[in-house]
């Protein structure tokens, strides 16, 4: 499981970084989204992988720390997902506005030589 997820994180990062370095704004926005998947998974996995140990206590409220997945990275990633959506939206609007103003969807606002 660990190996699979690590490779997956690597592939997502690679695809994201590749797109990040492309000249078209749309490529960059897709790249940032892929990169944020990778980063979210990475942070989440820092609590180590657990199967069937969701950090939700039973009806009795008994709390044995060993029995649950680490809730802290999960809490971090949860807000990161929502903020990630907001930044994607902001970037999308900025790229649309830049496209309207410059007439180009190149990241620099004009075609390179």
């Amino acid at each position: 499981m660990e190996l699979t997820l690590s490779i997956a994180i690597g592939v997502l990062t690679g695809s994201g970084v590749w797109l990040l370095l492309r000249p078209r704004t749309y490529q960059v926005i897709i790249g940032l989204s892929l990169l944020s998947y990778a980063v979210n998974l990475f942070i989440f996995s820092m609590g180590r992988l657990r199967v069937g140990a969701a950090p939700v206590l039973g009806p009795d409220g008994l709390a044995d720390p060993a029995g649950f997945a680490d809730p802290v990275p999960q809490a971090l990633v949860l807000t990161a997902i929502v903020i990630g959506f907001a930044t994607t939206a902001l970037f999308l609007v900025v790229l649309l506005a830049a496209r309207g103003l410059t007439g180009s969807d190149h990241v620099d606002g004009r075609e390179s030589r």
Binding site: S6, G14, L19, L57, A63, A69, Q74, A89
Partner: protein
């Protein structure tokens, strides 16, 4: 915080400054009253404190600020600070009276008084600071308010330039001062003024003494406009005259010499001190007086005279003898008195005659005899005529200049420089009076001059009387106060001195007579030449202003452009490449040094289904990267595929909350980007870009970077995942979640309870981003090639037009008819789902974030199903109200705990028995979560709707074009 009088003196001007802003814009009189009462209150409070400082004690007021760094908010008033505090608040009060008549009601009066009062507070802060860092803070504040006041009439180019120059010079000095003060703190081990004053020997013998001294003197000399930094002061004369009278003669420029006197017991007495301070002082004394003679602008003359007199004070301080310090402190007070009155008189002349050009002014005495008399007396004090205060301190100065303190050429030159400076002062003082008040009146003035109103003249009169009284009976008036001030600086070293006018026929008196006589003679000989001169003789071409401009242009333009040209780029790609490369290196270097190994920890068995899942996920990601250029929709769908796999991974690996949130966010992200796709240009492979070898090389480099980044992340992730986790704070949250947070869903309890403050910050960011998106889209102008209807709509439209039984646009309305009906029916279901997610959030996976996004998805589905117009005819969604309401609710829930005496955001819970439903948990955190929910709904809907609205805006615009 107790209200010590010391604290009040400092706080009152700032509070009053803020109060002025709240007045209506045309309130010249109320603002004047407010400022007047404030400065008067400061004066009275200071006066009341005199008994506490009279016996050499000091008053202290201390609040801990950053105690770990030795930074305390310490105020301290001793005799020296007392007399300066009297000076600042007293002259401040007089200037307020004067300003009432000087400033016109059309000027932005509130702005003037805001800056004026804030400056007064800052200046009092410099004087009263008992901590050197605090002193530097107020020091910089005076520079900033001086900048704002010089630039008060900012429509005037000279005002803007003068303000900028003053700020540049004094702020650079302030920066040096900060560095010097930090060195002092390093040497002494404390920033407390009293500690520092006790450590004179330690500082003087320390190896860092010279750098410390140079840095502190840079601050003091720039502030007091001493050579070679004197040039900013004449250019600051573009300020309104009350500002020149207050800041640039009586108070702010005194801050430099004030600081030198304050630290005199600690820093002075060394050869370095003597050389630096002495040279600066002597050069300023002579050069200032020389240049003052040639000025044609009345205020310019006074400005150079100020430089000269401050040079005199600096020179006195350089001598390192206690008597020199006494004379310096005495002259600070005397100069403030006569120079402030002269500036105000200059303002009256400018105001009444309409010009301050000495060549155009003449014979004013017959129009304004009282002002003329007052100005003459003040000028006489400036020239050092007997029976006036200027004479007394000048006599003391001569006496000190004659004494030999350190055997060097500088010391030998001191008496000659003193006489020369004084003689030139006599010349320019006579010139001032002669060319303005005497002689025949010119043909015409810009305005017919007459005496100003009584209260405008009153401050001048008051100060001139003070010059006379101090000059005639010094021992009975200023004597005791001066003694208090002097002994608080010098302590046990306080010398015997006499303030009498007549000390017998001695050398200083001879020097005075020589100076008066030769100055008068010089005016007789050269007066006409001075009246006609265009620029100063001999050194007219060396202009500090021009040198400053040259340096500024070189540094802030040429060099900056050069550096930008070499190291900068406006292109995004190289910058991002740099960021990625730096990140890779930053991760690789520690790994290289620490080594990298893998452990044995882990789940063990790998589920083939999980591998299969991620094979799909990775293929989606790579394919999305490959397709994003030409097939945007495909790339979006593939990216969504990766997102779903991520979501399933969260389910698999015990993170149901993340899965729920990821799922709904995935939906709205896809909708969002779909809405944006419409505005992007068409791109087909036929329009491929030039594909030369260089481009291929670049792509290869990017690919290498991407592969390295990916491989690195995979390696690090694997290395971490195969080690046992360290002891973390997780167990705390697991154990306390139910016991103290009252919720079984630990992730949710962390978000809304333990780390509620973080969440509050995060939802605030979310709200801000949404509003930013909204604001950006309000000004949105689409690219020309996307204004046209999309191709598909055009095809449908032409089909409609071709068929006789179809309305134009009918096909577009009917598309997706069945799904849209289903979507409309789903609306209540989605609302119930969102409510369910929200309500169960505290105990089971769900919560405000997931519920909020789900609710927003419900709204946006309605837009997709029936179109913007249809939805908005039937449903009023007010996203901004949702955002505001949500944020307010979350903040209020947090504040509510403060009503019970608990800290912000303390949550409270208990179980309540509801009829029919049974036992339900009631936590205040649930209300907080409701706030989160509201904000997330509002923010998401606002962004989506704002984007969706663009298409109707285009239609509207098109309609207007079609039927104008």
């Amino acid at each position: 915080m107790e209200l010590s009088p010391l604290f009040l003196i400092l706080a009152l001007p700032f509070v009053a400054g803020l109060a002025v802003v709240l007045l209506p814009s045309d309130s010249r009189d109320p603002a004047t009253w407010l400022a007047g009462i404030t400065t008067l209150a400061c004066l009275v409070l200071t006066a009341i404190l005199y008994p506490s400082v009279a016996d050499g004690e000091s008053v202290r007021y201390q609040v801990e600020w950053v105690p770990s760094l030795g930074l305390d908010f310490t105020l301290r008033m001793d005799g020296f600070a007392w007399i300066f505090s009297m000076l600042v608040s007293g002259i401040g009060f007089l200037v307020v009276i004067y300003t009432r008549y000087y400033i016109s009601p059309e000027d932005p009066v509130r702005r003037f008084y805001l800056f004026f009062l804030a400056f007064t507070g800052s200046m009092l802060g410099v004087i009263l600071s008992g901590n050197l860092i605090l002193l530097v803070v107020f020091w910089e504040l005076t520079s900033i308010f001086s900048f704002l006041l010089i630039g008060y009439w900012h429509h005037n180019q000279a005002a803007r330039d003068g303000a900028r120059m003053a700020l540049t010079v004094t702020a650079i000095g302030g920066f040096a001062l900060l560095a010097g003060v930090l060195l002092v703190g390093h040497i002494v081990g404390s920033y407390d003024l009293e500690e520092v004053l006790k450590s004179g020997d330690l500082i003087r013998s320390h190896e860092l003494y010279v750098p410390t001294l140079v840095l502190i003197l840079l601050g003091a000399l720039t502030k007091s406009a001493q050579f070679p930094f004197h040039f900013w002061l004449p250019n600051a004369m573009a300020a309104p005259t009350p500002v020149s009278a207050f800041l640039h003669s009586a108070t702010m420029v005194k801050a430099g010499v004030f600081l030198m006197a304050r630290l005199w017991p600690v820093l002075s007495g060394t050869p370095e001190w003597f050389i630096i301070v002495g040279l600066a002082g002597m050069a300023s004394l002579v050069l200032g007086a020389y240049l003052a003679m040639f000025q044609q602008d009345l205020k310019g003359l006074l400005a150079y005279s100020t430089i000269s007199h401050l040079g005199l004070i600096t020179l006195l301080l350089s001598l390192g003898s206690p008597l020199g310090a006494v004379a310096a402190i005495f002259h600070m007070l005397n100069h403030a008195t006569f120079k402030a009155s002269l500036f105000m008189a200059a303002g009256i002349i400018d105001h009444e005659a309409g010009t301050r050009d000495l060549r155009r002014l003449s014979g004013l005495f017959r129009y304004m005899p009282i002002t003329g008399t007052l100005a003459t007396v003040a000028s006489a004090a400036m020239a050092g005529v007997p029976l006036l205060n200027g004479f007394l301190s000048k006599e003391m100065f001569f006496a000190e200049a004659v004494e030999t303190h350190a055997d060097s050429w500088l010391d030998t030159a001191a008496p000659y420089a003193a006489v020369l400076g004084s003689a030139l002062a006599v010349t320019y003082s006579i010139r001032l009076i002669h060319s303005i008040f005497l002689g025949a009146p010119p043909e015409s003035f810009p305005r017919e001059p007459h005496e100003p109103p009584f209260w405008m003249r009153f401050p001048v009169m008051f100060l001139v009387i003070a010059c006379l009284v101090v000059g005639i009976i010094p021992g009975l008036t200023i004597g005791p106060f001066l003694h208090t001030a002097v002994s608080s600086v010098l302590g046990a070293e306080t010398p015997q001195y006499s303030l009498a006018i007549w000390h017998g026929f001695n050398l200083p008196l001879v020097m005075s007579i020589v100076a008066l006589a030769s100055g008068a003679l010089l005016y007789l000989v050269a007066g006409d030449y001075l009246e006609r001169s265009e620029r100063p003789l001999l050194i007219g071409r060396i202009d500090g202003y021009r040198i400053f401009e040259l340096v500024m242009v070189a540094m802030s333009w040429r060099w900056a452009r050069l550096v930008e040209g070499i190291f900068g780029t406006r292109r995004l790609q190289p910058q991002l490449r740099l960021v990625v490369a730096t990140a890779i290196i930053a991760a690789a270097v520690p790994l290289f040094y620490a080594g990298l190994g893998f452990g044995q920890y882990g789940i063990g068995v790998t589920d083939p289904a999980f591998v299969g899942l991620w094979v799909v996920g990775m293929i989606c990601a790579v394919a999305a990267a490959y397709q994003a250029k030409f097939h945007r929709l495909a790339a979006l769908v593939l990216m969504g595929g990766t997102g779903l796999v991520t979501c399933m991974t969260f389910v698999w690996l015990s993170a149901p909350d993340l899965a729920a949130t990821q799922l709904v966010v995935e939906i709205v992200t896809t909708v969002l980007i779909l809405l944006g796709l419409r505005w992007l240009p068409k791109r087909t492979q036929t329009l491929a870009e030039p594909d030369g070898g260089l481009a291929r090389l670049r792509r290869f480099r990017d690919l290498a970077l991407a592969v390295m980044a990916g491989a690195g992340m995979a390696t690090i992730a694997y290395a971490v995942l195969t080690r046992a986790p360290p002891e973390s704070i997780a167990s705390f949250f697991v154990e306390k979640s139910y016991a103290e947070g009252g919720g079984r869903n630990i992730v949710n309890v962390i978000l809304v309870d333990f780390r509620g403050f973080d969440t509050l910050g995060e939802i605030t960011v979310l709200g801000i981003v949404a509003l930013t998106v909204f604001a950006l889209l309000r000004r949105f102008r689409p690219a020309p090639d996307t204004i046209e209807r999309p191709e598909q709509q055009r095809i449908q439209r032409s089909y409609d037009e071709a068929e006789p039984d179809r309305e134009p646009g009918a096909t577009a309305t009917d598309y997706l008819f069945v799904p849209s009906v289903i979507m409309q029916w789903m609306f209540p279901v989605i609302i119930v789902l969102a409510a369910y997610l929200l309500l169960r959030g505290h105990d089971a996976p769900g919560g405000g974030f997931a519920a909020g996004v789900a609710m927003a998805a419900g709204f946006i589905l309605q837009y997709m199903a029936a179109g913007t117009v249809w939805v908005e005819d039937r449903l009023r969604i007010l996203p901004v109200v949702w955002i505001g309401g949500g944020l307010l609710l979350a903040a209020l829930t947090g504040t509510a705990s403060m009503l019970f005496g608990d800290p912000f955001l303390t949550s409270y819970f208990r179980y309540a028995e509801l009829p029919l439903v049974g036992k339900v948990p009631l936590a205040s955190a649930a209300l907080f979560d409701l706030g989160v929910f509201g904000l997330v709904v509002g923010a998401t809907v606002l962004m989506l709707i704002a984007l969706a609205h663009q298409s109707i805006r285009r239609l509207r615009a098109a309609r207007i074009e079609e039927n104008p």
